[in-house]
């Protein structure tokens, strides 16, 4: 029997669901190994009978909590799809601002109309079996992980830092190229193939931290490179603002 799968979206850009749709020809193979019963972004068919729920996006308003709990009740396995579900992603940037001011800034005098709460990852509300990290998720990882989960096998998600993959690609370390930079590679979970440093950008930490990050050594590197504490904090808070407090 093919497992029944549902895709659900909360506060996000829906780029991770679109990554699922953009796996191209291989999407058709994927579709043949599972039975997709709920995928609002792609289909008007809506089913509530599913075994595996892929959940994209952060919890950001009170109604999200009930909807998420309902999904948990129906599903045997819940999977966080992408950074917004996994770490609250960029949505959490606003958590560090005054919420009343944030609302007023965007919606002015009518800010009271919209009920919101601090952005949270989904495991702040429900039990989550697996995480597919990244902003957005990595296509190859997704194509490896979905069949594993569908056949009841724990998917492999790397737990070494991005630096390992960056070295394997033969990149010159950004810290060797320039002073006053912040690359999150030393403490960020690999699996992306060091995609950002490979095209001349710093790792922004979108895949979350490795399970045992060497923060102390990392801070020393930043200190050496003359990065101010404010800039460090700002950079941590791009994708990992909530990691320290969870």
């Amino acid at each position: 029997m093919k497992p029944k799968v549902g895709f659900f979206d909360f506060t996000s850009c829906e780029g991770c669901q679109l990554t699922v749709l953009s796996t191209g020809e291989r999407l058709l193979d994927l579709v043949s190994s599972v039975d997709i019963v709920n995928f609002r972004e792609a289909s008007s068919q809506i089913g509530h009978d599913y075994d595996i729920a892929f959940i994209e996006g952060s919890v950001a308003k009170p109604a999200d909590i009930d909807r998420l709990k309902e999904i948990r009740k129906n599903a045997k396995v819940c999977v966080a799809l992408g950074a917004c579900a996994h770490t609250a992603g960029v949505n959490a940037i606003r958590n560090f601002h005054n919420q009343a001011e944030v609302k007023k800034r965007v919606y002015g005098e009518k800010a009271w109309v919209f009920d919101t709460i601090l952005a949270q990852p989904i495991d702040a509300v429900i039990k989550v079996e697996y995480f597919i990290p990244g902003c957005p998720i990595d296509k190859e990882e997704l194509l490896r992980v979905i069949p594993a989960i569908a056949s009841g096998v724990r998917p492999y998600i790397p737990d070494h830092p991005v630096c390992v993959e960056c070295k394997m690609r033969g990149n010159v370390c950004l810290y060797h190229r320039q002073n006053k930079i912040i690359c999150m590679g030393p403490i960020t979970r690999a699996g992306c193939g060091a995609i950002c440093p490979s095209v001349g950008n710093a790792c922004e930490g979108c895949r979350g931290l490795v399970s045992d990050p060497n923060i102390k050594a990392f801070e020393e590197v930043l200190e050496e490179h003359g990065v101010s504490p404010e800039d460090r904090m700002r950079f941590y808070r791009m994708f990992n603002g909530l990691m320290g407090v969870r």
């Binding site: 792609a42 289909s43 919101t116 922004e204």
Partner: protein
Amino acid sequence: MNGKDVEINVHHVTRVEGHGNIVVDVKNGELKELKLEIVESPRFFEAMLSGRRFPEAIHIASRICGICAVSHSHASVRALEDALGIKPSQQTETLRRILAAAEHLDSHALHAFMLAAPDFLNLPSVIPMASTNPDIVKTAIRLKKLAHDVCDTIAGRHTHPISIAVNGFTNLVTEEQLKSLLKKVKDAMNDVPRMLDFFSSLKFPDFERKTDYTSLTSRNEYALYEGIIRSSETGEYKHRDYRMKISERVVDHSTAKHALGPHRPYMVGALARLNNNFHQLTPGAREAAERLGLRVPVHNPFKITLAQVVEIVHCLEWMSTLIEDLLAAGIKDERAERPPIAGWSATLEKVSRCWGVGVTEAPRGLLIHEYRIGNNGLIESANCVIPTAQNLANIEADMRELVPQILDRPKEEIRLMLEMLVRAYDPCISCSTHLLEVKFVE
């Protein structure tokens, strides 16, 4: 029809990007209530951007939308360049144009083939189309794959692009890579006849409502990347004057703001661009329009989908010319003389207070980012005007005119028509904060 009561409530319209509801309430044949509720959680991007180092804005802004991440990056980088008084090189601008073309191609292929087409075939989604219309699904997949290849090669990734930076790219495409992309673009042109056969066979609802068509326009090209703003009703104006022409207001039933022009509701997107700039389309795209029976001005919003198909042809031909131009000039590594300013660059000290506006065309229409930067290089305030927010009032105006015309039809048919109308606009609710369900109030 006299005396009829119809209440429609589509809760979370499907096959659109984001969450929205359509609510229609007719009592005694009179339209009591009609609204497009936007129920997506507010995203607060404008607040998220404040307090960030200015070059970081590009990567944060791209996270507004998974479909049009390139357009948001472009609006963002152009706003920063406008503020800092930086004019990027011709090569940078050409590469960005190629990215813009690829994104329009990708987004239109997704919408026209995968989200809109199932309505015309009486199918719930593109998935069963894989058995009923396999060639069409494969065409869509090939076009999307091409667009992703282009973006992956030039910008490091499509969703979300990595190497787009102020004053250039942090990584440069090679001539070898461009040659390989050019071949793929030419190959994709073989798919055009099949695509046109399919879309010219679809029956579109007969409904017209003239509105204000607003888009960028440029003397030099069919504007998909830069230009000045043109309203079909009130004329042209510069990007920095947008606040004098476009006002945003908060309505109770939508977490996405409604934007209104001097002529009140207006339309942005593929059809607005086609109506404003038709003569600048590539020859193949003009032929495609002929084939699809589009004679501008087109006032039928359902045909936005066809305008997107025309733009797919345009983007293929335009991309091919742009790549040929680049290859003829040769790719120069300009990074030493014009250092790109990326998120982590430490150049904040040199920045003094400034303000800038960046406009571009996203697949769904005119996109505006505006930033105010402080002496310390940190963003003080940001404003983003999103295509779907501009279309919302116009969609409601269309529905208000359409509902009385179709009130004598069965409720399910009314519901489908309204869903199709909303879907035709290809709303992107994540962007505008996300959109769609139809509620017929019962």
